[in-house]
């Protein structure tokens, strides 16, 4: 009796649980026979439509998540099964992001320069990379960075560094800025810098939609669910530096809750956390921040919100023309023209350390009045609230495996550069997973290790 029970249990382990079988034959007899055959093979069990295994799981289906899925499927094809778990498929959080569709080439870290160069190449060839009907509506108005006395020398250093990488930017003196853009108040500016090519605004929504469609076409599975927990199995025979011998626990499966409240276990080989502002809570599920030793350092990513305002001119006479670049002010204020319409959009970069005493709108109004003195004649009203996932440690992204959980990769914390660098970041993560090293752009310094050894990587050209 016992023996037959063990036998059936062992047999069941080897039976393949296949997914829903679609009809392959037109002839009704062969179709019926095929369906019945498959049912018998799977032992008449109730199939669940939700996958229970994937080679790579990506938590978060936004820009970076979809980009990672795209590159994995592009390079590996049928060889890797990719599942993307996204809890909000309407992407409400990503819509109306007025500040996120900008490409700029002004960076001081070599990694960022390479990332923006590659992303510009990807966006230029987007019709070949994704599908023919993706139109990102690139508007090459350039980005102008203004520097006060304090930052002028740093700006010059950055420009000469960029020249080494092949990016030609022009330094503008105060007279040139006044001649080209007479509506800017230049009393406290010493220098400005504008790049000569591949800088401007694009439609980030169409990029996201294009990525998702192409990835689904290549074979990735998008699941509308929420990750609840990670399941960790103790593995006593693993020795790792920084971990007490015999105490290592490996993450093998995660639990996700689907739309109809089913909780399903998903077994994976590699998990990529690209969840934006929710990455910290996902990391907490894996004991990052709550454990001991290597797990005591939490993921320092927080959500920062800021309002985006529009400045409308009552009269028909505008002081700014079509040649209005995206202006990045010394105070963190940014200004851009709203397409062809006669209004400006502006916003303020949020502070890394949140301070309840400072009112953001006050800072914004004062810097706006300083830079664009004619705005007293116009109406300034808030149009939306954008938010970013801010890395409170050093404001640069975190990319790479966790030191303890070596099969858990992070790709978050890129704040405002996330959208524009997403193609290049996706490719980097795909290289880490497939080639186990960075082959094109070396982003080792973006790893989680720098938080453990306290070596901040600061980008000095982004205010």
């Amino acid at each position: 009796m016992n023996f037959s029970r063990i036998l059936t249990k062992n047999i069941k382990k080897y039976i393949v649980f296949s997914n829903r079988n679609y009809a392959k034959f037109v002839n009704p007899f062969t179709r019926t026979w095929d369906t019945i055959n498959n049912e018998i093979k799977s032992g008449f069990k109730q199939q669940s439509d939700y996958p229970e295994h994937a080679d790579v799981v990506i938590i978060g289906g936004g820009f970076i998540g979809s980009s990672v899925a795209y590159w994995l499927k592009n390079r590996a094809g049928e060889g890797l099964s990719v599942a993307v778990i996204e809890k909000d498929t309407t992407y409400e959080m990503c819509q109306n992001m007025h500040s996120h569709g900008i490409i700029t080439q002004h960076y001081s870290l070599p990694e960022n320069i390479y990332l923006s160069q590659y992303s510009a190449d990807f966006l230029r060839n987007i019709k070949q990379n994704l599908k023919e009907d993706v139109d990102i509506e690139f508007k090459p108005h350039g980005t102008l960075i203004l520097a006060s006395e304090k930052y002028a020398s740093k700006l010059e250093e950055n420009v000469s560094l960029q020249k080494e990488f092949g990016i030609s930017s022009k330094i503008l003196t105060v007279e040139e800025i006044e001649r080209l853009y007479p509506w800017i108040n230049t009393s406290d500016i010493k220098l400005g810098c504008i790049s000569k090519e591949s800088e401007g605004a694009f439609n980030s929504q169409s990029l996201l939609k294009g990525l998702i469609k192409k990835t689904q076409e290549l074979g990735a599975t998008y699941l509308k669910s929420e990750v609840i927990d990670f399941e960790m199995n103790p593995q006593q025979d693993i020795l790792m530096e920084g971990v007490a011998p015999g105490s290592f626990k490996k993450i093998n499966r995660l639990v996700y809750r689907t739309e109809d409240n089913q909780e399903i276990f998903l077994k994976f080989a590699v998990c990529v956390v690209a969840a934006g502002s929710d990455s910290e809570s996902v990391a907490k599920l894996a004991n990052i921040g709550t454990g001991g030793g290597l797990l005591s350092v939490p993921l320092p990513i927080e959500k920062r919100e800021y309002n985006v305002y529009s400045i409308e001119n009552e009269g028909s006479k505008m002081s700014f023309g079509l040649n209005t670049p995206f202006i990045m002010d010394t105070s963190g204020l940014w200004l851009k023209r709203d397409g062809l319409q006669k209004k400006l959009i502006c916003g303020q970069i949020p502070l890394i350390k949140q301070d309840k005493n400072i009112s953001y709108s006050d800072i914004l109004y004062s810097s706006l009045h300083n830079r664009y003195p004619e705005c007293v004649k116009s109406k300034v009203k808030p149009i939306s609230t954008d938010f970013i996932d801010c890395n409170t440690y050093d404001d640069t992204g975190i990319l790479g495996p966790h030191p303890y959980h070596t099969n858990l990769f992070f790709a978050t914390g890129f704040s405002r550069q996330g959208v524009q660098h997403s193609p290049a970041i996706g490719r980097a993560v795909a290289e880490l997973i497939i080639d186990c090293q960075f082959t094109t752009i070396d982003l080792s310094r973006f790893g989680f290790d720098r938080i453990l050894i306290d070596e901040p990587l600061i980008e000095s050209n982004v205010y």
Partner: protein, 284 residues
């Protein structure tokens, strides 16, 4: 400017090797003897906080491990995986991709060419040998020809300033984004015609605006892919006086943008022309 010749040095020099080979690709024996180098990322040393287990004290690894090479390239594995499903259509698409890559490589900006000839003469070589016409400053005739018929100087000569480039006949279906970088450094370029170049789009016009926007006065964009974004690039060209384009047609945004540009720049004349000449066949 260093006056380097384009001709190769004599054969005799290659027969007697007079210098050491300091290349990066040392043999595996030399690499092993040099020992463990500190890891460098973008020129700076990367702070390693842990070492692989096999390199700790007391651990032993075989000397034969220096012969262990890397695993096969993942691209090769990906291609092998697609082999059973290979169709003729896949081969045709692959060949077409290879042709595109060849064409882009052919049109790349070569710093060696510019070092040897100077920006103006290098641009002259580039455009003339790809069947477009170039006119020099203070001269009336257009330079058209082949490598054999036209003798252009092969070292740097003073006095060659490119004033006008006519790319209507550019070979192999038109100039591309990479090819436009050859217009870099032409300080006297006033006239540019990109007629019938179907690969010219927003990014290309943006590149032209950045490189030559301060001196370019005439631009012909008939047959190019125009969209509303192009107008922003055109607005950046401060010296532009005459623009020739095709009829925008149903594209309302483009029409609105064009009218705004006209309103803003009263000295800029925008002329909408129809391609009446028979379609110039770009010779393959």
């Amino acid at each position: 400017m260093m006056a380097q010749k384009l001709k190769h040095s004599s054969i005799l020099r290659t027969l007697c090797i007079t210098s050491r080979n300091y290349s990066e690709y040392k043999s595996i024996y030399e690499r092993d003897e040099a020992g463990r180098q500190p890891r460098k990322v973008h020129g700076k040393e990367y702070p390693e906080w842990r070492r692989p287990w096999s390199q700790r004290d007391g651990e032993w690894t075989s000397k034969l491990s220096i012969f262990v090479e890397k695993s096969p390239s993942m691209n090769v594995l990906n291609a092998m995986q697609k082999l059973p499903n290979l169709t003729f259509q896949d081969l045709k698409e692959w060949w077409a991709e290879m042709r595109v890559i060849q064409e882009i490589q052919n049109q790349k900006y070569l710093p060696e060419r510019v070092i040897a000839l100077g920006a103006n003469l290098a641009a002259l070589h580039f455009f003339v040998y790809r069947q477009s016409a170039v006119r020099l400053k203070d001269k009336k005739e257009w330079l058209v020809g082949d490598v054999v018929t036209l003798k252009l100087p092969d070292t740097y000569r003073d006095g060659y300033f490119v004033e006008a480039v006519d790319c209507s006949n550019f070979h192999h279906n038109g100039i591309r984004y990479e090819g436009l970088q050859n217009l870099n450094g032409l300080n006297y370029l006033k006239w540019l015609s990109l007629r019938n170049n179907k690969y010219v789009d927003v990014w290309c016009i943006d590149r032209i605006a950045g490189q030559n926007g301060e001196t370019l006065e005439f631009l012909n964009l008939m047959g190019c892919k125009l969209c509303a974004g192009c107008i922003y690039a055109l607005a950046r060209m401060s010296a532009l006086k005459f623009l020739v384009i095709n009829d925008p047609g149903d594209n309302i945004e483009l029409q609105a943008a064009l009218s705004m540009l006209e309103e803003e720049r009263p000295d800029l004349l925008i002329s909408i022309q129809v391609d009446t000449e028979s379609d110039v066949d770009n010779k393959l």
